[in-house]
Subunit: 337 residues, 5 copies
């Protein structure tokens, strides 16, 4: 229902956590705040970054929407965790939403990340506690970091840069796994491997589903003529665009490698089938006539002249041997041996 | 024949039903009307929504066309239920046609939905009784709904939004079915499953056929510079565009998953075939030489020296055993066991 | 050779037939004319439609070219019946060429249709006698037809509309055939069905080859800023564009269905192959050890202790039975039964 | 190495041949010239066409480059016979290069064709003696040919038109071969046919590789706003563009037909395999139990009660017959017979 | 981490090597320099080319960045050896990065090549010692080389031209290998060949991954309206663009040939499988009934009338012969022989 705020995800925290970091060239502050303090988040001559963890409490989102005059559609998108990556320009703020990937013990965690970019203010929304921005927080805290000299648009870039770097790291990990598999496939192959290949394909497709629209989001951001994006930040966003482009290209490369691996698997299987059937045929074709001949002389007719012939048995073995050699020669000529 | 009005669908109601809802910030009216009352549908300072259910009566359509000066081509498209999704801009009204999907007892109902957007007036045309707009009607009736403050363009958006939400719900249902199947395919597989996969593929393709042009329709609507679209409604249409985009992306994702499932099915089948043939070959190759040897000593030649030898029989069993062990070793080395 | 007029098709009539229809709001005339009367074809205050059937007589085409100042390239294209659909704008006329399809006794007839659109004048060229425009001629003859009020551009639209409607009808027929086949494939399948599928695929590809450029032709016509196209005719052409778009979309849908059917056919075939081989393997694997044992006790060794044992024969049958049961259990576990 | 002129092809003539044709409405001249006479090639009030056959002599190319002020890059491209089709606009001349195909005794001859289009002057470069332009030369010689009234741009068109006509003729020849094969495939199929299909596919791909960029070249030529292209020649180039478009479309059609043929081949092969295996299975499954039973009664146990029973043998034959009939019924039910 | 300079490659040299070549129409200098001499690299009225080999020493890169005012993002990209090909325009310099391929003893060496194009100055960065530019250096040293008359933009073109020429040479080598394989596949085929095909496919895909973005880079360079690109250099870059376009087209052609080869391999394999199974079936089907009959007359029933019949044995051979002939006739009719 449009116009109504409904959180479509799961509750990951008991209470939503609001943390604000304020900085300028000279100063740095970091504090956890409550809903009452929202009006004190932004300070003159500071860049403020308000980070919200936990989206289950609609009241928090509503309060933020009212305090910072966030468009209702943006609030709806923040709460709809199946929202596709998008960027929307409103009167005095930009709204950007994308997926954030991280790895915890070899497992991929997917989380929705939303961001409001306003003048001197960034508001970020995360579903789950803990994030991938600790390195960035340290760089902000560092008195001589480049980020301290710049405005909210650079902070927005820095956040996206961390997210895209994690895309890159994860796709590279998959790529390595795929390449290892490719080498293994040359030696042996098992149905487990097939299963693993399908799993990785699924994960890579999952990543791809969110990486490709993110590329469009960043391109739109660069092309938007919003006053919220300073000219000096554009080269950084272009660089970021190159990174996400590289992510999508790598995804395509690894998708193709996975498909090649699947094809290799099938070729190996068919080769093996050929091998199995060649073995069966060689054995059958050699022994079928021999068995027939043995059967003939096992018949109980009273008048089979050969049966009385003294040398019949050794001659028959010679015939058997001759048939075997002939068959082997026949298979050799057919290049089956 | 161009210029002639012919209904290409089936008759679903005895008599076409015309219902008008009129509202503004302060008031709300809902009444069923007859053809004679058409000139009283639109009222000053109200937004009116005239909904027609049942298109079989050409006279109704003609009367509507004359009263509201609807272009003849629009009337033709309303009646042609195999019309592809399209938007047309006429002098003082917009015409928009698309497919509307709903689920009744797990079955998908497809119906053509046409809409005339005029100043303060929306006319909608449906083939069948009953629709998916009851929630929207309640929101209109609610005195504090956002929709009560806005004009016909927002109502048009709200109608399309309900339609697109149903697309989303249906594709998600298919997606879940496909994912369940994917999990099942890892365990077992049957020809029924193949049949189901083909059915879902067909349904997803059906949805796709109408979702993709609808995306173009909404894009055209946003880009049209018609005075019938107020600037403040544009962000909502852009949001809707994101939704239909997500629908089409999900369709592509599930189509790919279905194809992956079909491929998995084939791989499983080939694996099973390999297994069958390996079993056949192992048994045949082991027993064929044994049977041959047994046949040899079943021959009735008078002079077979081995036959008289006392230990021949146990020695032969040793030979049999040796051949079996040798063959098993051979299969082991070929990794067939 | 450019510049020379050569007819690349076959002669279908003894003598080319020239027929002119002239009409305006008030009057209607229809007459067959000869080459000498060409200068009287167009009359003031009338819209004239000159239809030529039979292109083998170069002199006729030359005379028309000279009388109506048709560009030589257009004349060449009229005569080249393997011309791809195209539209060309010349100084005072438009030239349009496409394929016209009709069905005679379930067979598709393909014919080239060329049209010169000039002020108050349409000249159409057809290869064969008889056409699909009789309905249109009746609508022209009808005194209150919309067409009587309009100019040559609307007549051009009406002609194209008839052609596109026939595309639609033919593709729908194929679609139905394909859908019937799909249902049949679930029950049984034969090589004939495969043959039919390939034939339909060929026919659908034939249609597609001419439908897709026709779409471009109509789009170009709409976008051309020729004074020969009145503003009020544009919505009709846009509607026509929607129709041809729907034709091409349906073609793609049915192509995909055909491919799905072909894949289903292959899957069925592989399933059947699996079934065949499973049957072979089950029988072989059960009987091969039994036959071997029977062979062993058919050996003529003098000292086979079992042979003298009184209960040996019934015990052996028990062993046979045990092996069969064991094998069936083995196949059951492998889910082959 | 850029800047240095190197011929990358083979020497086909002992000495490069330079021939000039000069014409205007009234006069026509044709003469073979030497390098010293280059400055007399172009004459006022004449259109001159200088044709060079044989590119091995770098000095000739250098002399031409100096006399006619051809850009060094154009000279390099003329000599690089693996140059892809391209058009380049220089200060006072156009440079165009493409592949020229001809058939000599059913074999395709590929040759590079380069052309300089200057005011009143065309210079063409060919690798090998003999060409496909003799018909064009006759049309120039003919006093009333349209070409005599026009300038160098029309001559350039006429040359390209001859080249594209040969593309068309060759692809049509392939198309016919492919269609004949398609018909043959319905009757029988052999590995030779597969070989032929792969050969034709290779040739069609070869043609496609040069036809597609040639289309871009002609489009660029039309769109270039060079004063060297008179407005009245543009419709002819557009017509040519239609022809090359048709060539590329036909190439795609025949590529698809070839792939369909390859698929048909595979289906036939699988059908045959199925047939082979069904035969094997039917025979095996019928005779395996029979042979087993015969083996049982060939055993030498002393106490097999059936052996003494007088009617055992005919009864056994009845059993055999019963098994055969049962099996045939079983296969019938499985639709294998 | 953005803003920090980290080299992501391996150290190939003990110490980074800096070499400067300065030239103008009259003079030429070449010297190896140290970090202290960076301010003397560029000289008035000279074009200077500073080449750095070895990127492991961050201090060198930092010093270069400071001296020549290179944007920090460019420095980061220089050090990130997995950077995708890109071009960036900064205030007074262009930055361009791509992959450079060379062959050393049939192995492909991949190396990142970065270039700063400034007024009268080119700075190039290479990872490894030794490069593919020695021919270019000789051309610069040559007093009459075209390059001596031109500025840094032409030198940049000349460097890229050498790189693209090596792309071309390598893809042509692969193409030749693929064509040889194609010919071999017609005669025989082995699993090694399959392995080789997959390896080449991998290498071609590797090349493709870097060639396609390089094409975009060169196109961007041509379209950029930077004052650093003189109008007279544009035709050379367009020519270069044609070359890289040809590289990418050849890559696609060879990719398709590889896929055709893989398909041929599979067809051959299936043909062989058919052959194997036909052999098995023919032998089995002929001998199975014979062996059954022999088994029947090997039975030990007391009353088998045929056994006493004198001519039974030769008649049976006649029956055997008749069955064999009948079967052969049957196979002949089925076209299996």
């Amino acid at each position: 229902m449009p116009g109504s705020l409904v959180y479509t995800g799961q509750q990951h925290l008991a209470v939503a956590k609001l943390e604000v970091i304020r900085f300028n060239e000279a100063a740095y502050e970091r504090e956890e705040i409550t809903l009452d303090q929202l009006d004190k988040v932004a300070k003159d001559e500071f860049v403020s970054w308000l980070n919200i963890e936990g989206l289950h409490d609609i009241e928090v989102i509503k309060a933020l929407g009212e305090t910072f005059k966030i468009h209702n559609l943006a609030l709806e998108d923040i709460l709809n965790v199946s929202q596709r990556p998008a960027i929307d320009e409103y009167d005095d703020h930009l709204f950007l939403v994308c997926k954030m990937f991280s790895t915890v013990e070899k497992e991929i965690i997917t989380e929705q990340f939303s961001m409001i970019v306003a003048k001197n203010l960034i508001i970020t929304f995360q579903e789950k506690p803990g994030d991938i921005f600790d390195g960035l927080r340290q760089r902000i805290q560092h008195p001589k970091g480049r980020i301290r000299l710049r405005n909210s648009d650079y902070l927005a870039f820095a956040l996206l840069d961390v997210i895209v770097d994690h895309y890159m790291a994860i796709i590279e990990e998959y790529g390595e796994e795929v390449n290892i598999m490719e080498a293994e496939l040359l030696d042996s192959f098992s149905e487990d491997m097939l299963h693993d290949l399908h799993l990785i394909k699924k994960e890579v497709n999952h990543l791809r589903r969110y990486a490709r629209p993110l590329k469009d989001v960043i391109t739109s951001y660069i092309k938007s003529e919003t006053p919220l994006l300073h000219k000096s930040t554009v080269p950084f966003l272009k660089d970021l665009n190159d990174h996400i482009l590289q992510v999508t290209e790598n995804i395509e490369v690894y998708r193709e490698t996975i498909n090649d691996n699947l094809n290799s698997y099938h070729t190996h299987m068919t080769n093996k089938l050929n091998d199995v059937l060649k073995t069966l045929t060689i054995f059958s074709v050699i022994f079928i006539p021999l068995t027939f001949i043995a059967g003939v002389y096992g018949m109980n007719f009273e008048y089979i002249p050969e049966l009385q012939y003294v040398h019949a048995y050794p001659i028959l073995w010679a015939v058997f041997f001759g048939i075997v050699v002939g068959m082997l020669f026949f298979f050799k000529r057919k290049k089956w041996l």
